[in-house]
Amino acid sequence: MPEAPAAAPWYRRLMLGLLLAPALLWLFALIVLPHVDLALLSFRERVAPRQYVASLAQYRTFFGEPLYWRVFVRTAVLSALATALTLLVAFPIAWTIAKLARGRMSALLFVVCLIPFWVSETVRTLGWMILLRESGVLPALLVHLGLTTQPVELLYHDATILVGLVYTSLLFMVVPLVGNLESLDNALIEAAYDLGGKGWSILREIVIPHAAPGITAGCIVVFMLTLGNYLTPTLLGGKNSLWFTEQIYTQFITRFNWEQGAAFGFLLLALSTAMVWLGLKVSGQRFSDVMRRA
């Protein structure tokens, strides 16, 4: 019966294929097909009403117009900054949840990170606007405390965008970090301390290398979310938001220029892919490991 063992894997592979078929079809229909369509769109140009020719004009427009370049780079830089800030804010929180807080306290901290997601992003962002606008709560409080002589506009600054983005992204950084930090044996920290390590050197030599997959996973998720965010930068940034997703929206919806929008979309996809690749290279992680351990 030498055939029997060979038949089993064949049969099993078919079963696996059948089991995965709905998910694969779903992926194909909702992710792959629209992207193929968008790719085709991005490589054509309108020459007259309802007449299109294959062309690189959309990409040429992007590279030829400094405005689009500027917004593109600005979005990338601000997203990277927001990711770094999120990491800075999330790390102590994750550390507290994983290492210091016990039982109920740790659950409570998690809930605090979850609260922003109890309301929709729109409501949350509008809440920020009510809080920060010149006639809003915070400027009034600052005047009341005597810190400013008259209400100041706290909206429509890059800093406001960053604060909003960090707030929105916090949970996505905290969760992988907690998972990673929880698996860090306390004895390693004690051992490092015992061997003469101090806070900073232990963080650098022991904690960060251990948490690297979590940090990388968190950063990838947060960076992608931030890069693709539309509402927060647009609403909080106001007239100066200059977020690339907004450009895409504008091209698709108000300019009826699907070709340009599709090209922008692909450029954004390329950017996020490049940044993720770069992040993995710099941190020396493998994508599959990061995703598994996150």
Partner: protein, 349 residues
């Protein structure tokens, strides 16, 4: 088993039959009041489903589906021709099915001029109004669009980052942008000049607003002292606070008109015609006018209009509609020129 299938099939057919009694309209806020929907339903048994939108989204949504998903759309009269030539999202009216004598003839003439393709009419007038300026007379006094850029109004004005703002500032520069619609080169040059003006003025704009409420909030909270605004919003602000004035700018208010347009793949034209004939009855049109705060294209509805709004209209436009500019139809491709300018304004420091 097959009996169950048959039942399911029949149920599907039944559901489809029910769908025939639904009219799907994509329109602007306040254009289709609940009260009017209820009355229409009582008379005809047709349910009305409303989706709120604006010109660009309306066109984009219809473009994405090739003109399906809605039975009736209400784009502005200047946004029919170009969109139809480019995307084929509308279908022409059978004018025999509409009681044309219910419409104000002057408005019908405008639409005939702007929304006729190959002799077929693609739009019917519904609601019209103007876009001018508002200001808080306690804080400042302005008379034309460029006054929004006065140094003392730094950070205290607002406009939309859309084509009406470009048109307004172009008019204020002494040129007529509408006359250059067919001259791409001259139009581009004019728009570039306007773009520079707006970019220089950007410090004065607190924000670019996307919807009426955003601006109304800003004015009510005292953050905005002057802005470009629609008449209905301006008059509403004035009724609440007499210090806030809505004026016809020296360069002229710009008049817009929103329309009825049948969608290319709309399923329920009969219901659409029934709805149009229903809402254009003077007494129904008056209800709509009260809801939206603007005048409708229904003949005789004006007499039933809120007298306060009529008084406000007379105050803003003492010369009637003389100094008002109607948008001509936008030829395809114009938005791309304007879009590049608007992008530059947005990116300006």
């Amino acid at each position: 088993m097959s009996a169950a299938l048959l039942l399911a099939l029949l149920a599907g057919v039944q559901a489809r039959a029910d769908n025939a009694q639904v009219l799907k309209i994509i329109t602007w806020a306040d254009y289709v009041p609940a009260e009017v929907i209820a009355q229409f339903g009582k008379e005809t048994g047709i349910q009305v489903q409303v989706t709120l939108s604006n010109n660009e989204e309306m066109i984009s949504k219809l473009r994405a589906t090739g003109g399906a998903g809605f039975d009736l759309a209400q784009p502005s009269q200047d946004r029919i021709l170009g969109a139809q030539q480019e995307f084929r999202i509308y279908k022409p009216f059978d004018t025999g099915k509409v009681r044309l004598d219910e419409f104000v003839p002057e408005l019908l003439d405008i639409i005939r001029k702007n929304a006729t393709i190959d002799g077929k009419l693609y739009g019917l007038p519904y609601i019209w109004g103007t876009e001018g300026l508002i200001y808080n007379s306690k804080r400042t006094r302005i008379s034309d669009y460029p006054d929004l850029c006065k140094p003392e109004l730094r950070g205290r004005t607002a406009v939309r980052l859309k084509r009406p703002t470009l048109m307004a500032f172009a008019l204020a520069s002494g040129r007529n942008p509408f006359a250059l619609y067919d001259n791409t080169k001259a139009y581009t040059a004019l728009m570039e000049q306007v773009g520079k003006t707006l970019a220089a003025c950007k410090v004065n704009f607190r924000f670019f607003y996307d919807n009426k409420d955003q601006l109304l909030n800003g004015v009510r909270s005292g953050e905005i002292d002057a802005a470009m605004m629609w008449d209905s919003g301006g008059w509403a602000l004035n009724r609440a606070n007499p210090d806030i004035k809505f004026i016809n700018p020296r360069s002229g208010a710009i008049a817009w008109m929103d329309t009825f347009a049948l969608t290319a793949r709309g399923r329920n034209d009969a219901a659409a015609y029934a709805w149009i004939n229903f809402v254009m009855r003077p007494e129904i049109a008056a209800k709509v006018a009260r809801s939206v705060g603007n005048f409708t294209a229904a003949r005789g509805a004006e007499a039933l209009m809120d007298p306060r709004i009529r008084a406000q209209f007379a105050e803003t436009f003492p010369d009637g509609l003389k100094n008002i500019k109607w948008y001509p139809a936008i030829p395809p491709g114009l938005e791309a020129i304007e879009g590049a300018i608007l992008d530059r304004v947005k990116a300006a420091d």
